[in-house]
Structures are given as structure tokens and as C-alpha cells.
Amino acid sequence: MRPVFAREIAELAPLMIALALVCGLVAVESVSPGADYDGMLAAVIVCGAAVGLVQGGLDRWRRADLFFKHRPVGAIRFELARTLAGFAVVLVPIAILLIVHQTATADAMRDGVKWLPWGAVRQLTDGEALLVGAAFVCTWASVRYGLSRPNVWIAPLSCGALPVVCWAMGSRLETHEEGASLALLASVVFLTLNVIDLAGDRR
């Protein structure tokens, strides 16, 4: 399982680095005066979709990659390893985003010094942070699942619409945690369906 995980990570590494940089910049930007939290949410949805598109593309390519598929690993474990690798790739930019954002804000509040030239104005609440992370994961999972499906054009559009719906619902729900829970639940469903689907395809 480890070689499959490592191989997938290696293939997604350039994207992970690029997204980590983007998320770092988004986090810095989000603490500037006038910046709002919705912008950050939009950015992570785009980043999640990017990982989903690339990994979904790899899923499609892997269908015909018999050299890689022919390994002494069960089909479910094989696809689980790839999914975990995708999750790890998603977690790194999320972590960068939240750490940079929280650190910048906390520093500014504690020291009273604006270490960023434009200053820190607000701190992300736990609920908001959870929703940002959940939106990222949900977009990745839904777009990847959509793209892995045979009907390449319709599936990602319909699946990609889900996080947008969640995002829209987030503002109507009582708390951010509710929106995040919804997005995480949808992610688990998409990831499970994807693993079963791909494992079935390998057999």
C-alpha cells in the first residue's frame, strides 16, 4: 500500500506545492483590511477543484495503466491508498492557509504590531476554519468523483455544484459547524463511492 501512496503523492506533489503557495498568499491577503472571509472560501473551493481535477484525471488515466495496477495489493486497499494520498495533498494547503492566517492575526493582536504591512484585522473563528477546510475537502472529493466517472463532462459539473450549494447554505445555517458537517458528510460519501467504483473497475 505504501508504494502506491508514495507514487500518488509524488505525482501530485507539484500541484500540492503550488496550492500551498496560493493558500499562503490567500491567507495573507485575507488578513488585510477589507478582505472578507467569503473570498478565502472561494479560493479554497478553486484549489479543491484543482486537486480533484488532477486526481480525477489520474483516475481516468490509471484505468488503462495496467503496469501500475498490476501490484500485489487488493483493489480496495490500492484505491484507498490513492485516496489517502489525495487527502494528504489537500491537507497541506489547508494547513498552510489556516496556520498562516491564524499566526499572522494572533501575532498582530498579541504584540499590537502589524507585522504585515497592511495589518491584521480579524481572526478566523473555529467554525469558519472548519468550514474552510471542509469546503476544500468536499470540492476535491466531489470533483474527483465526478471526473472519475465515465461521463466526463456532466459528472464534474453536477458534483462540483455541491460545494457551491453547501457554501450558499452555510450563510443560511445557524452555525458554520453545520455547514462544515454537511460538506464533510458529502465528502465521505463521494470518497467512499469513488474507492468502490475504482476498485470495482480494477477487478
Binding site: P3, V4, L66, R203
Partner: protein, 297 residues
Amino acid sequence: MSATPIRFERLTHDYGSHRALHDLTLSVPEGSIYALLGRNGAGKTTALKCLLGFQTPTRGRAELLGYNSMDLPPAERGRIGYVAEGQQLIPWMTVNGLVNLQARSFPGFDRERCHQWLDRLGLPLKRRVFRLSRGMRAQLALALALATHPSVVILDDPAMGLDAVVRREFLEVMIELIQEEGRTLLFTSHILQDVERVADRVGILVDGVLRVDASVEKLKSSVLRYRCDLEAGPAELSGVVATRRMPGELSLTVVGAAAEVEAALRAHGATSVDIERLALEDLFIDYTTYKPGEVAA
């Protein structure tokens, strides 16, 4: 190990409304080298994919090492060496990266041996796969497959796209590596001279139907071409593989005892009957190109 490590039982596979394989039944005994032949689209690759469990048969079953291919345990998969059609590898990895990947994936992988082969073949370890020539890729794919010490080797057109010189080298390496440990080998190929040199048995697929399953020697001795001065042959003649008519001449490729076929032709009025032993390539062409047709036109 099972005495028949490879077995197909009435395996049928459909792609939508197209039937790629129809009731394929064949067995490859342990230690033998079996060549599965057929024109493009005859169903060879589909058969191998079903055998490896990469495709679910519509009907019937395939068995590998005594297990149904669809339930092949991971440990058993590790005992199978496989080279996919077109020497599929991961193009952006280096040769050494691929060796490491295989070594971490397959418990029985012999890294030292693999490096020895790669040295002998002159494959640069640091070069990326997409920078290798086709011949190098083919040799790399073979070395990676065989370094796992497999009990069964499955090669899908391993020499495809190689020029004559590289193919010869490749074939020599293949023979040497396979004969070393008496492995069971199933391979597909379009290059009949290679098949003739290597294979114990051959199967010929025509439009998804296995029309021949015999040892090379038996096939060559039992299928003969008869040329006679007739316009039409005897209707009762059985075992006709191919019929060709030319002005004043009838050419028949027939499976069966030569004396009986000749007698039947002479009884039908033929004054001269030439009997020709066919090379495997001619046999293949007759099986796959010509129809048995109506002998008595």
C-alpha cells in the same frame, strides 16, 4: 503450484453489442510457452485482461494459479510477471525509480538481479522512461516483470514496434530469462517468426473465436496446403481452413491426414496434387484471412 496455472473456461466478453471473445476455452500447462495469436481486434488483449482480473467477463471464467481471476489474492498476483501492451510504464519516472517502485511493491523482487540485467542491457538508471527508445522500454518492462521471480509470465505483444535487430536481441533475452527457471509463459504476438522460435503451443483467435489450439509441430504437420487442377473440390471434404480459386487451379488448406485428402481430390478428378507444408506465418494468414468457403463451388 497448480498443474494448469492458466485456464480459460468458456470465457465470453462483450463490449456493448460487440462480442470481443466468444466461449474461449484453453489451458496452459505448467512450464509451457503458449503464444496466443490473432489479428488486431481478435480479442487477445481482452483475453489477457480478463485473465489478470482487469476486466470482468460477460460469461465464463478465467483462472490463474488455480484461482478465479476475479478473486485473485494479492499474494498470488505477486507471483505473476506482466508486461502490458505497448511496454506501458510510468513515463516520467527514471529507470531506477521504477526499479525501486517494483522492489517496494513485490516482496520477491530481486533488485540485485534486476540491476545486473539492466547493466547488461545497457539501460541507464538515471534516464527517464520517456527518453528511452522503444527497444529499451521493452527490455526494461521485461526485466522488471521477471525480477519478481514470477511463476507465470504474461506478455502482451512485448516486441510490438521494435525493429528487426532490437527484436532479435529482445527475443534472445526473453528466451534466456524464461528458460532459466522453467516458468509458464503466455504471450501474444504478431511476429510469427518469433513465435515459431519460442512457443511450444499456439492458439489462433479469429474474431474472438479460438480456431486453433495445438502444439506448433502438430499444427505444422497436420495442416497442409493442396494445389490441384480443379475448379471445385469434393463437397464432402472436411477440415478445410481456407479455399482459394485461381483460373484452372484450386488451392485448399486442410487439416487432416494428407493421404486421405489427396485421395479425395484425385477421386474428384484431380490429375495433379501438390502438397505443401506451411510455415506458421502462412498458416496464420490462411486461418485469419481466408474463409473455408464452399469447396464445391
